[in-house]
Amino acid sequence: MLSSVTAEVQDAILGEDPSEGALRTVGLSVLSLVASLLCIFLAPGFALPVLAAFVVVTAFGWRTHQAEIARLLTLVATILTVLTVTLITVYLFFSAFPAFTAHGIDLLTIPILESGPQWFFWLDFVLPTGETIWNPRAGVYSLIPLIWATVIVTTIAGLIAAPLGVLGALFIAEVASDRLREAIKPGVEILAGIPSIVYGFIGFKVLNGFIQKSFLDDGASFLIAGLVVGIMALPTVVSVSEDALSSVPDAMRDGSAAMGATSWQSMKSISVPAASSGISAAIILGLGRAIGETMAVAAILGAVVQPTVPLFDMFDASSTLTSAIAHNYGSATESTLDVLFVAGVMLFVIVAGMSVISQYVERRINRKLQGQQ
C-alpha cells in the first residue's frame, strides 16, 4: 500500500526509470523546497535563506540531471499554480464566513419605503425587510441595493455589447476583406486594452456632465455606467464570437455559396447556427466582464449605497457590488470588511460560474462540428 503510493509519487515527480543519482538530486531539491514552503507559513523570516538553498541545490542538479530537474521544476510550477488557485478560493470563502454567521439572511434585507416594502419581484414575501439597509455605524448591511445596481448596469451593458459585439464579429469574420481584417482585429484588441480607469475618468469628467445637461439628471446615473461598461465588454464579445465564427470551416461557406446562397444567407443559416454555442459563450463572458467591472463603475456612480426607486429608474445611482468594495475597503471597520468579503465571494461565484458555463457551451461547438452530436 505505502510502497505503491511512494511509487506513484516517484513516478509523478521523476517520470519512469530514474537513475540513482537523479533520485538523490531531485530528492534533495524537493526537500529544500518543501522546507522553504513550510518556512513561509511557520517562520517567514527563514523562508528566504531556505529558498536560496533550494535554488543552489537545483542549480547543481540542473548541471548533473537536467531532464529530471526540469521535470521537477515544471511540476513544482504546476503545483504552485494549483495551490494559488485553491488558496484564493478557499481564503475568500474563509474571510466571508464571519459575516455569514453574523448577519445571515439579513444581508438580503429589502428596503422599506414610505409605502411599505419596495416591490422586488415577490421576493419581499421571502426575504426580511428593514428601514435601514446600509448603515455601517449601526452594523446593518443589506446587499440588495448593490446587487440590483449590478443587475441594472449589467443589463444595460449587455443590451449594448451583445448585439453590437455579434455584428462586429460578423463583420470581422465574414464581411471584411483580408486587409481590413488585419486592421480592425488589432483595433478591437486595443479597445480591450484601454484601462478601465481611463474609461472611468472619461465617464467621471465628461459623460456625467453630459447626462446632467441632456437628461436633466442630478448627477451620476446607471445609464452612463451601463453604456461605458457595455463598450468595455464589447471587445470580449467581439473577439470570442469572432473566434467561434472563424472556426466554422470555409468549405461550408463555399458549399453554400456554390448553391447560389448570398453571403448573408450563408451567415444566417450556416455560420451563425454552427457557431451559436461559441457566440453564446462570448455573450456570457462579456456579461461576466460587465459584472466584474470595477473602476469605471466606481468612478461614475460614486460611493452612495441606496435603493433604486422605482426599480427600473436608469437615471438613479448606487454603488454596485464591485464599486462598493473599491470605495469602502480603505475606511471600513472590521464588520464592514466581512460584509465586503461576502460581496466578493458573490462576484467570484457568479463570474467563475459564468466562465465555467461558457467553457462547457464552447466545448459543444467542437463536438457538433465534428458530427458527434
Binding site: A67, R71, T81, I88, I190, F215
Partner: protein, 889 residues
C-alpha cells in the same frame, strides 16, 4: 421538374439607371443624417443653428467629403486604387449631391437644423414609399420575395407599438383608462398589430419600405413640426432624470437614418436575397465603422485632453531629436528602397507612397538642422489649467526645440543600440572573402584573449573594489590599459582604411581584397573598446591625456572612419558589374554601418561608465544630462509649488509593478503549462486545471484585490506595499500565462515531437530544443498582451497599494536591498513601502474631489494609455512578425 420555379429569373439583370442612382442618393442621404445626428449628439453643432451658421456647417462637411471623395476618385480614375463597384461610386456621388442639397436648403430655408433634419427624414420616407410602390406596380424590375419575413414583422410591430402608445398617451383630452385597461396600452397594441400585418402580409417590396417609411415619417414630422423642439423637456414623475429635445432629437435622427439606410439599401439591390444581403451588410458595416470610431474617439480624446499637461515645459535639443530620429530615418530609407515599379505611371504613383515617409522624416530632419544652423529655437507656446490651492490657474508654457547640441548619453545608447542591432541583423557574413593576410590570423586570435583578460580584470575589481586598502590600483591600472586599448582600437580601425586608400587596382578591387581586414578590424575594434569601457567602469578610471580623453576620442574617430569605409564601399559597389563583388561590397557597407553605430553607442556608454564627465567636441557634447527636459516624466510632484511638477514616481511605480508581477508569474505559468501539456496525462486533472485557470482569468480584478489585502498585506508587514501589489497582479497574470502558453505549446504539431523522439532524443531535450522554440512566439505575444492589461489594472491596486497622487520621490527598489545579520538576512524596505502608480493616481484624483487636478488626471490617464497601448502595439507587431515568418510571406 421546373414547376417549382414560379418566376424565371434572368441571368443578367437589366440596368435601371434612374432608380439605382435615386436609391444611392437615398442611402447617402441617410448616411449624412446619421453623421449629422452623431455630431449633434456630441454637441458639435447646435440643433438650433440657422442661416449662416448652418450653411457654414454643411459647407465644412461638404468640403471634407468632397476632399475625401475627390482624392479617392482621382486614385480610382488613374487606376492606382481602382474602385469598380457601381454601388460605392453611386453612394460617393450621392454623398456629394445630398450635402450640396442640404447646404443650398440651409441657405434658402429659414429653419433650424432640428427642423431641417425632420424635413430630411420626411423626404427619405417619401423616397422609400416611392421606391416600394414603383417596384410593386412594375415600374422598375426587381426581385422581391413573397413577404418581408417574420423577423422584420416583429421588429416593426414592436416599434409601431411603442409609437402608438406614445401617440395615444400624449394626446390631450383623452381619458386615461377604458374598462380598466390603460388607453396607451390599447393604442400600442392596435398600432403594433397594424404594423405587423402591414409588414408581413404584402409582398416584400411594400412590406419592407412602407412600415419603415411610416416610422421615419412620424419621427421626422414630430421634429419638423417642433412637437419635440430644441427647448422641449419632459420629466416623468418617478424617474430621477428626464428627457430634453437636445437628447431626443439626435436619438430620433440616428434611429430614423439607420432604418432608412437599411430600407434604401434593400431597394437598391432589388429586394429578394440580394436586397436582404445589401441591407444587412449595410448595418453590419455601419456598426463596424461605429466601433472603430468609438475606439479612435476615446484614444484621441484622452490624448487631446492630456497632451497639454504631459508636455509642459518640454524642451529638447535639436541634435538630440536628430539622434532619436536616426533609426526612423534608416527605416524609411529602407522602405523607399523597394524595387521600382513598371513603366506604367500609376505604378510610379504607388512608388510615391513608398517614398512619402522618407520625405516626411527627411524634411523634419532638415528642419532640425535648420534650427541648429540658424540658432533660433522652435517654440509652440500654449496654455493649460493647473490647480493651485484648489483654484484653477492658467499656466503659460511651451513645447520647445532648442538649438542645443548636447545629447543625453541614454538617448545615444538607445538609438545607437537600435541601429547596431538593425544593421547586424542585415549583415550576413564575409567569411573566406578576399585575401587572408599572414599577419591577420595572430590578431584574430589575440583579440579575444585580450578581451577575456580585460573582462577578468574587471571582475577582480568588482570583487575587491577599485581601491583595496586605500591603494588606488584600479585607477592606475585602468589608466594604462584603457589608453593602450584605445590606441590598439585606433590601429585596428585605421588599418582597413589605409589598405583601401593605398594599394593596387581599382577601388572596388581593393575593397574586395581587403574584406578580411575590414571584418577583423571593425568587429575587433568594437568588441575591444567595449571591454575597455567595462574596465573603466569597474576600475573607476577615466584616462585623460592632457585635454584629450583617449577612449571616447578613439570611438568618435572609429565611427567616422567606419562611415568613410561605408561610403568608399558603397561607391565601389556602384562602379562594379561583377555580381559576386557587388554582393561582397554590399556586405561591407552593412558591416561598416554596423560598426559606426556600435562606436557611437560606445561613446554613450563611456559617458555612462565614467559618470561625471561629458565628452565634448567643440559645441557638440554627449553628457549625462543632455538637452532633454521633460518635467512630466522626469520629475516628481512639487509640493506647494506654482510649477506643476511631474508624475515620475507613478511611472517608476508602474514599471516596478509590471516587472515584479512578470518575474513571478511568467516562469511559474510557463512551467505549469509545459508540465500540463507535455508531461501530465491529458484527462480529468488537466481539464479541471484548465477550467479553473480560465475561471480565474475572468474573475473580477477587485476580488484579487480583496485577497491581496486580506492575505498578503498582514504577512508582508501590515502596510500597503509594492510587493503586495506585485504579487496580487502576478496572481492575476498567472492564469493568462498558463492559458496562452498552453495554447501555444498545444499548437506545435505532434509530428515535431514524433520526429525528435524517432531520432532517439529524450523527452526533456525534445521539449527544450523543439517544442519551446516553436511555441515561443505564441507565448511571448500572449505574455506581452497580458502584461499590457496588468499595467493598466487599478481595482486591486487601490486595495493593496493605496492611491497616492502627489508623490515627490520615486521608489528606489534597486537601492533598497540591504543585508542583515538576522533572518531573513536580506531585506528591501522599498518593496515593503507603498508607491505611486499611474492607474491609482488617476483614481486618487477622482476621489480627491475638488483638490484633484483635472489636467493632471488627464495627463496621467494619457501616459497610462501610452504605456498600456505600447505594450499592445509591441505584442501585436510581434505576433504579425512571427506569423509572417512562419508563413514565409
Amino acid at each position: 421538374m421546373s414547376e417549382g420555379y414560379a418566376h424565371e429569373n434572368e441571368l443578367v439583370s437589366a440596368e435601371s439607371n434612374l432608380y439605382d442612382r435615386a436609391m444611392d442618393v437615398g442611402i447617402a442621404l441617410s448616411i449624412t443624417t446619421f453623421v449629422v445626428g452623431m455630431i449633434t449628439f456630441a454637441d458639435g453643432v447646435s440643433l438650433a443653428a440657422t442661416g449662416m451658421e448652418l450653411v457654414t456647417f454643411f459647407g465644412i462637411l461638404l468640403g471634407v467629403v468632397a476632399g475625401g471623395v475627390g482624392i479617392v476618385a482621382v486614385f480610382s480614375y488613374t487606376n492606382v486604387v481602382p474602385i469598380t463597384s457601381q454601388r460605392v461610386r453611386g453612394v460617393a456621388l450621392g454623398l456629394l449631391v445630398s450635402l450640396v442639397g442640404l447646404a443650398v436648403a440651409a441657405a434658402a430655408l429659414p429653419v433650424s437644423l432640428a427642423t431641417m433634419l425632420g424635413l430630411v427624414m420626411i423626404v427619405e420616407a417619401g423616397l422609400l414609399v416611392a421606391a416600394g410602390a414603383g417596384s410593386r406596380f412594375g415600374f422598375v424590375e426587381t426581385d422581391p420575395s413573397m413577404s418581408a419575413g417574420l423577423l422584420a414583422g416583429i421588429v416593426f410591430g414592436l416599434l409601431g407599438a411603442a409609437i402608438g402608445a406614445v401617440i395615444v398617451a400624449s394626446f390631450p383630452g383623452v381619458p386615461g383608462v377604458i374598462a380598466g385597461v390603460p388607453l396607451w396600452a390599447l393604442g400600442g397594441l392596435l398600432f403594433g398589430v397594424g404594423f405587423v400585418v402591414l409588414t408581413v402580409s404584402p409582398r416584400e417590396d411594400i412590406g419592407s419600405t412602407v412600415p419603415p417609411a411610416l416610422i421615419i415619417g412620424i419621427l421626422g414630422a414630430t421634429i419638423a413640426t417642433a412637437v419635440i423642439g430644441v427647448g422641449w423637456q419632459w420629466t416623468p414623475e418617478n424617474l430621477s432624470g428626464g428627457f430634453t429635445g437636445g437628447s431626443v432629437i439626435p436619438v430620433f435622427v440616428l434611429f430614423g437614418s439607420l432604418l432608412s439606410s437599411w430600407s434604401a439599401a434593400k431597394c437598391r439591390a432589388d429586394f429578394g436575397a440580394r436586397g436582404r444581403q445589401y441591407g444587412a451588410f449595410f448595418v453590419i458595416n455601419l456598426n463596424a465603422f461605429l466601433m472603430v470610431a468609438i475606439m479612435a474617439a476615446i484614444v484621441v480624446f484622452v490624448a487631446v485632453k492630456g497632451i497639454g499637461w504631459a508636455f509642459h515645459d518640454f524642451s529638447i535639443g535639436a541634435l538630440s531629436l536628430l539622434v532619436v530620429l536616426a533609426p526612423l530615418l534608416v527605416l524609411t530609407v529602407q522602405r523607399a528602397r523597394a524595387p521600382a515599379g513598371t513603366d506604367e505611371w500609376h505604378s510610379a504613383a504607388r512608388q510615391f507612397f513608398r517614398v512619402l515617409p522618407l520625405a516626411a522624416v527627411g524634411s523634419f530632419a532638415a528642419m532640425l538642422l535648420g534650427i541648429i544652423v540658424t540658432g533660433t529655437p522652435f517654440e509652440i507656446p500654449y496654455q493649460y489649467a493647473i490647480l493651485v490651492d484648489r483654484s484653477t490657474v492658467m499656466l503659460d508654457t511651451a513645447f520647445r526645440v532648442t538649438p542645443s547640441l548636447a545629447v543625453g548619453n541614454l538617448l545615444v545608447i538607445v538609438s545607437g543600440t537600435l541601429l547596431f542591432t538593425y544593421f547586424l541583423r542585415r549583415y550576413g557574413s564575409l567569411r573566406d572573402v578576399g585575401i587572408e593576410y599572414e599577419r591577420l590570423s595572430p590578431v584574430r586570435q589575440a583579440v579575444p584573449a585580450v578581451i577575456g583578460l580585460l573582462v577578468l580584470l574587471s571582475l577582480v575589481f568588482v570583487g575587491i573594489g577599485p581601491a583595496p586598502g586605500g591603494i588606488p590600483i584600479g585607477p592606475t591600472v585602468g589608466l594604462g590599459l584603457a589608453t593602450l586599448g584605445a590606441i590598439v582600437v585606433a590601429a585596428l580601425v585605421l588599418a582597413p582604411l589605409g589598405a583601401l586608400l593605398t594599394g593596387e587596382g581599382s577601388l572596388a578591387e581593393r575593397a574586395h581584397e581587403n574584406a578580411q581586414l575590414l571584418n577583423v578590424g571593425l568587429f575587433s575594434g568594437v568588441a575591444l573598446l567595449f571591454a575597455v569601457i567595462v574596465l573603466e567602469w569597474t576600475a573607476v578610471s577615466n584616462p585623460q591625456l592632457g585635454p584629450l580623453a583617449p577612449v571616447p576620442t578613439v570611438a568618435l574617430l572609429a565611427a567616422l572612419v567606419s562611415i568613410c569605409l561605408a561610403a568608399f564601399a558603397a561607391r565601389a559597389r556602384r562602379s562594379t558589374d561583377d555580381t559576386l563583388r557587388h554582393r561582397v561590397l554590399g556586405e561591407e557597407v552593412t558591416l561598416a554601418l554596423t560598426a559606426a553605430a556600435g562606436f557611437v553607442t560606445l561613446i554613450g556608454l563611456h559617458v555612462a561608465a565614467t559618470s561625471e564627465t561629458a565628452f565634448a567636441v567643440g559645441p557638440v557634447e554627449v553628457a549625462i544630462h543632455g538637452s532633454l527636459s521633460w518635467p512630466t516624466v522626469l520629475q516628481g510632484a512639487i509640493p506647494l509649488g506654482q510649477a506643476p511638477g511631474g508624475i515620475y514616481p507613478a511611472i517608476v511605480g508602474t514599471i516596478w509593478i509590471v516587472i515584479g508581477a512578470s518575474l513571478f508569474a511568467v516562469p511559474l505559468g510557463l512551467g505549469a503549462a509545459v508540465f500540463l501539456t507535455e508531461y501530465a496525462e491529458q484527462g480529468r486533472f488537466t481539464e479541471v486545471v484548465e477550467t479553473a485557470t480560465n475561471a480565474l482569468w475572468s474573475t473580477p480584478s477587485i476580488v484579487f484585490g480583496l485577497f491581496g489585502a486580506a492575505f498578503l498585506i498582514p504577512r508582508l508587514g501590515n502596510s500597503l506595499s509594492l510587493l503586495a501589489a506585485q504579487l496580487t497582479l502576478a496572481f492575476m497574470l498567472l492564469p493568462l500565462v498558463v492559458i496562452t502558453s498552453r495554447e501555444a505549446i498545444k499548437s506545435v504539431p505532434d509530428e515535431y515531437r514524433d520526429a525528435s523522439a524517432a531520432l532517439g532524443v529524450d523527452r526533456w531535450t525534445t521539449i527544450r530544443s523543439v517544442v519551446i522554440p516553436a511555441a515561443m512566439p505564441g507565448v511571448v505575444t500572449g505574455v506581452i498582451l497580458g502584461v499590457g492589461r496588468i499595467a493598466g489594472e487599478t481595482a486591486p491596486l487601490i486595495l493593496v497599494l493605496g492611491s497616492e497622487i502627489n508623490a515627490t520621490n520615486a521608489i528606489d527598489v534597486l537601492g533598497g536591498f540591504a543585508f542583515t545579520t538576522s533572518p531573513p538576512f536580506i531585506t528591501n524596505e522599498a518593496l515593503l513601502n507603498s508607491s505611486a502608480a499611474l492607474p491609482t493616481q488617476v483614481w486618487g484624483i477622482i476621489t480627491a474631489g475638488v483638490s484633484g487636478s483635472t489636467s493632471k488626471g488627464w495627463a496621467t490617464a494619457f501616459m497610462l494609455l501610452v504605456v498600456v497601448l505600447s505594450f499592445y502595439a509591441v505584442g501585436i507587431i510581434a505576433r504579425t512578425y512571427f506569423r509572417r515568418k512562419i508563413n514565409y510571406e
